[in-house]
């Protein structure tokens, strides 16, 4: 009885494997309807076959059926979350769908705040800071209360070290949305650079409240606390940081500094050792 069951399973597996091979060959020939038919037949026999789902999705993409392809890839990833082919084709499909949707947006509202925002983001990718600023300002003209755009302008100015201007944009964003992480973090970062540590601590505490898991906010808050000589609180924040992200090199340095300032030399040495080990690891990788 067991032998029969094993043989039956083996035969089903082989049948599914053959079907996958046939569907792949049909895909190669760009015979998409045929590939769909073979993959769907294979899935009727073996609904849990992730590879057959991926082939069905690829054939659906070839047939210009993106919604079906999307749904099928979703199932493939539910069956096998580590399936690299499913992830790869999902990446390709969603990249194309995103571009299509943005093209539709452009056709619908070419002078809208969102279109100018997208253009600014694209110029940012191309390292064209002047173009990026021009587009963000155009977007702001159309939507002066957009928190996303105000924060993006704040980031742009902060990276240009124009801290007063940056602060102005972040403050406008924060006035619209008091819980905006980006605004609070940006204000905190500006305050650190302007050596206004007390204000930095206030903003960064708010940022951490908005996003309690943010590594960047913990790091900046720890830094501000150390600068303000609030060593005990800095140690707590930085301990939390290295616990949640043990690979945070900068976090270990600041944590070691906090421990040293608290007179906990042995623990400080161990934290420095972790920092050095992480640095060595990075060097080895390079």
């Amino acid at each position: 009885m067991r032998v029969v069951a094993v043989l039956l399973t083996l035969s089903l597996c082989l049948r599914a494997q053959t079907a996958v091979g046939l569907a792949e060959a049909a895909l190669d020939r760009a015979a998409f309807p045929e590939a769909i038919r073979i993959a769907e037949t294979a899935l009727r026999h073996e609904p849990g076959n992730a590879a057959a789902h991926v082939l069905l999705a690829r054939a659906s993409m070839g047939q210009n059926q993106p919604a079906k392809a999307f749904a099928v890839l979703r199932v493939a990833l539910q069956l096998d979350p580590r399936n690299l082919d499913a992830l790869y084709y999902l990446h390709r499909l969603t990249s194309v769908l995103a571009q299509q949707e943005f093209a539709r947006l452009y056709a619908m509202a070419p002078d809208s705040a969102r279109v100018h925002q997208l253009m600014a983001e694209s110029l940012h990718e191309q390292n064209d800071a002047a173009g990026e600023e021009r587009e963000y300002l155009a977007a702001l003209e159309r939507n002066p209360k957009s928190v996303v755009i105000l924060n993006a302008m704040g980031d742009l100015k902060r990276h240009q070290s124009k801290l007063e201007e940056a602060r102005g944009f972040y403050a406008r964003a924060e006035a619209v949305d008091h819980a905006s992480f980006d605004a609070l973090y940006g204000l905190g970062a500006c305050a650190i650079f302007m050596q206004d540590n007390e204000r930095a601590i206030g903003y960064l505490t708010g940022a951490l409240h908005a996003e309690p898991e943010s590594i960047a906010a913990k790091l900046a808050l720890g830094d501000a606390l150390l600068r303000a000589k609030q060593n005990q609180r800095a140690e707590e924040v930085l301990r939390g940081l290295v616990k949640s992200d043990p690979a945070a090199k900068q976090g270990w340095v600041l944590y070691a500094k906090a421990l040293r300032l608290l007179g906990r030399k042995e623990e400080a040495d161990r934290a420095f050792a972790r920092y050095r080990a992480l640095s060595r690891g990075e060097t080895d990788e390079k």
């Binding site: 992830l87 990249s95 769908l97 995103a98 571009q99 949707e101 943005f102 619908m108």
Partner: protein, 233 residues
């Protein structure tokens, strides 16, 4: 999306509902506008209790829950709102926002697509749908990196990205690594052939296309590209 905006969108839906319900919703909105989110939540909950079949009450409650970070409860309420008002683009949109916050990007895309279908002239829905697709695309690449940072698929993604940016040498390097990581994977040599051809290196392009055809003898794309290359020689 601010609660007040949702309210205006929903006013039509509300008009047929009873006065007590409407009064509760108005009180909730006023509380919300005055920054008393907890009071607003109480009012919206009472409105739902008055009329469990009111989509607008559930939508306002869901949005307020979302604002207070009660994501799972927000998804539940907004899901009910969608079931009660399946043709409300705003309800689908709000549910998508909550699903995004809960990390369910696939479900959010489905809801955003429905919102965009129901209100195809709404530029915000188009923008958010495009954004959601882009996030899924980035998520996929992150997952590939996490599963196998030296996989052929990751090198292919890199190669495609460099190719799109016109960084030919980097694209060739990435696709060469992809071919080394998975020698039997079809598509990689075709991509290499195309890049070589674009930069006028036709002999290398022909070499790569022959390798592709060895792997996938019936590949329509590879055979067509080989014909094209041979004609241009």
């Amino acid at each position: 999306m601010k609660i007040a905006v949702i309210w205006f969108t929903l006013s039509a839906l509300c008009s047929a509902e009873n006065a007590a319900l409407e009064a509760k919703l108005q009180d909730g909105l006023r509380a919300r506008q005055n920054g008393s989110i907890e009071k607003a939540l109480t009012e919206f909950r009472e409105a739902v209790a008055l009329d469990p079949g009111s989509a607008s009450a559930r939508m306002l409650l869901g949005s307020a829950l979302l604002e207070t970070g009660k994501i799972a409860a927000a998804v539940r309420e907004l899901d009910r709102a969608v079931k009660l008002a399946p043709d409300s683009a705003q309800a689908h949109f709000q549910l998508a926002v909550a699903q995004q916050r809960s990390g369910d990007q696939f479900a959010a895309v489905a809801q955003l697509r429905r919102a965009a279908e129901l209100d195809s002239s709404n530029d915000e829905y188009a923008y958010q749908l495009g954004r959601a697709y882009l996030q899924l695309s980035e998520w996929s690449v992150d997952r590939i990196k996490a599963v196998d940072p030296k996989s052929a698929r990751l090198y292919q993604v890199l190669g495609e990205s460099y190719g799109a940016q016109g960084k030919t040498d980097l694209a060739i390097e990435a696709f060469t690594k992809a071919a080394a990581a998975a020698p039997q994977l079809s598509g990689t040599h075709l991509a290499l052939a195309m890049i070589y051809a674009q930069s006028g290196r036709n002999d290398e392009a022909l070499r790569e296309i022959d390798r592709e055809i060895e792997l996938a003898p019936e590949s329509a794309a590879a055979l067509a590209f080989k014909r094209q290359l041979s004609q241009s020689k």
